[in-house]
Symmetry: C2
Subunit: 374 residues, 2 copies
């Protein structure tokens, strides 16, 4: 809401005031390239999730690296992406409300747009909005492949709703949305793999049911940063939807790889820049970042250059760094880079990315779709 | 960041799209009047905390009802308030950074502004910025009266820093900041009262130490929505700083009053407006509000018109309403008013208040200081 920019291009890191959301462009670029290569090697389309970044600039860079388009989760994200020049947006969520359907359909004038449904109500609302302006909206049926959130049950119910879509004017059946959000942060590699094995079986049952109705299914889309190699290997997915890989966060770093070591396929590129504002030597240092600076649903900040130290939110505007006997001192005025616990809701608190290259501010990218909507 | 307004004036509640932050103006006005009367009855100045609302419009209404000014917690809040016409702003927090001190001092051209310090570093930075433009900044010494966050220890250390302020060019000692954040949500009435009894003793020890140095202390400011009657009764506070009373939230409603019943001195006036987007009858309904729509550090949403039902965040864009055998059905498209768990960080997610009077949108008030800063 404030029109104030948090930094100017050319500033050094030390000059940037806090709290600020920092993006290390070198690490970010390497993450973007790594995922593009992984999807290409697997022969799958890559459609990264823009709910993580809410930024058409980042979406464009992902597409320049080979992504076919992006996903988003809300209509206001779809609008910000399309208005920012992104040409292919899939809303990987169900929604309700006539105005939302109308707004989504309006975007088909500018971009390839698709959406999900898991109910007759949802199909009808999308169809009505599409018919009103004479377009055909591609609709994917969302299948609950294990998360227990949205989505129809796999198998026959999925095929039944797909048939409903196929039979409804204004929409066409475009495929299956099969994302298992609950599997992304299962720590153990084998358990994570098993969860996606079950998700893939749920997709297979749904494909078989579609086949019995002679409904072709051009797209099966899903997968996230924690599980995408398993979806890729399953043979049933055509498209991957990872989001967090561009930034990583402290919570994804707690996942384990096949050796039992930390999941390190991607680098931390997103940081909070914070200042020590008060200190009680030997006990605690207080930083200027609390609940309003950090999406705290997945644990505390980790101090980037002292990975054994964490900062716990201590209210809305404060975070506590507990000092032990062996902890370095952090005098008032010290600035620290913190790794967020969960990147998506943290980004959603900021209006700007302060983008760094070679230790200097190279760009300010707006978090164009910030906020929960409508 | 999005320039889109979430509603238009004159709309009915049913027409407002979701998620939206609703403010019931009748309940809000009653809360504002109740706290103004409580402070007046106690003979204390009222300086409500604007970190709760981040809105100069709301600050002006609080002052029109009798408040002497408002508190804020960050420089960007102070800027938004002063630029919005608020004439008296106390930054009830310590800070660090030359640019922040300069920005705060610049506001003294437009409004009465004061600030806190708990370190020599803080005093020096504020003094330097004030001297550079030839003003005298009132500085309150923040005392740790039990929260264990910022603040110098009570008694002699408080007086020592006050003397430092008094002896430093560009700043003057204006009083003690003595807020006990940790006491606000102690559930039991007696235990909450005891915590503030100890805070008041810490203030008394500090006042005695100031007296020994012949330093007069015109202001002792503190208190919050959960404890203000105790600060008022202590005889040592001159000013109250409650914030959340204007909105209430589900967490404050879990405090107990002196009878052991729920704390009901104020009414819920702030709600999230959410839509059921998916449902599995008898099991769950999914709403379009998750981590990005709700400051979730103090528990789940409570359904306003079904106070025994809660909505747990189920990811960044989803909330789960668990349905039991006796729960009414909530078909797709149903809209519900939810009481946030914690009002301050929830407000911080939205760009606008959608203000309702007689069931219609009466105004849209910007959350002008949204965001963590800098």
């Amino acid at each position: 809401m404030t029109d104030r920019r948090p930094a100017d291009t050319g500033m050094s890191l030390a000059e940037i005031d806090t709290p600020a959301l920092l993006l290390d462009l070198d690490a970010f670029d390497r993450n973007v390239a790594r995922m593009a290569r992984a999807a290409a090697d697997a022969g799958l389309a890559l459609r990264p999730h823009a709910k993580t970044h809410k930024s058409p600039v980042i979406a464009q860079r992902q597409m320049a690296a080979g992504a076919v388009g992006v996903c988003c989760q809300t209509v206001n994200e779809a609008e910000a992406l399309v208005q920012g020049g992104v040409g292919d947006v899939h809303l990987s969520n169900v929604m309700a409300g006539r105005r939302k359907a109308e707004r989504l359909v309006a975007l088909t004038r500018l971009a390839r747009v698709s959406c999900c449904a898991d109910s007759d109500h949802g199909v009808a609302e999308l169809a009505q909005a599409a018919c009103a302006v004479g377009v055909i909206l591609p609709v994917l049926v969302e299948v609950d492949v294990g998360h227990g959130r949205c989505g129809v049950p796999p198998g026959e119910p999925a095929a039944e709703l797909a048939a409903r879509v196929a039979d409804t004017e204004g929409v066409r059946f475009a495929g299956l949305q099969a994302y298992h959000g609950g599997a992304q942060h299962i720590r153990d590699h084998q358990a994570r793999q098993d969860a996606i094995g079950q998700a893939a079986n749920a997709v297979r049952r749904s494909l078989a049911a579609l086949d019995r109705r002679s409904l072709s299914c051009p797209i099966v889309t899903g997968g996230g940063t924690g599980t995408f190699p398993f979806e890729a290997a399953s043979g049933v997915f055509t498209e991957l939807q990872p989001g967090s890989y561009i930034f990583m966060d402290a919570d994804y770093a707690r996942n384990r790889d096949e050796t039992g070591g930390p999941f390190q396929a991607f680098e931390h590129s997103l940081f909070l820049w914070a200042t020590v504002i008060s200190t009680r030597p030997g006990e605690r240092a207080l930083l200027d970042v609390g609940h309003k600076a950090h999406g705290g649903d997945s644990g505390p900040f980790v101090v980037a250059d002292h990975p054994n130290l964490i900062v716990q939110p201590a209210g809305d505007e404060h975070g506590t760094l507990v000092l032990g006997p062996d902890t370095p001192s952090f005098p008032v005025g010290t600035k620290l880079r913190l790794i967020p616990g969960h990147c998506d809701p943290t980004v959603n608190l900021y209006d700007w990315y302060v983008c760094l290259r070679n230790g200097q501010v190279a760009a300010l990218w707006p978090v164009a779709a910030r906020g929960p909507g409508p």
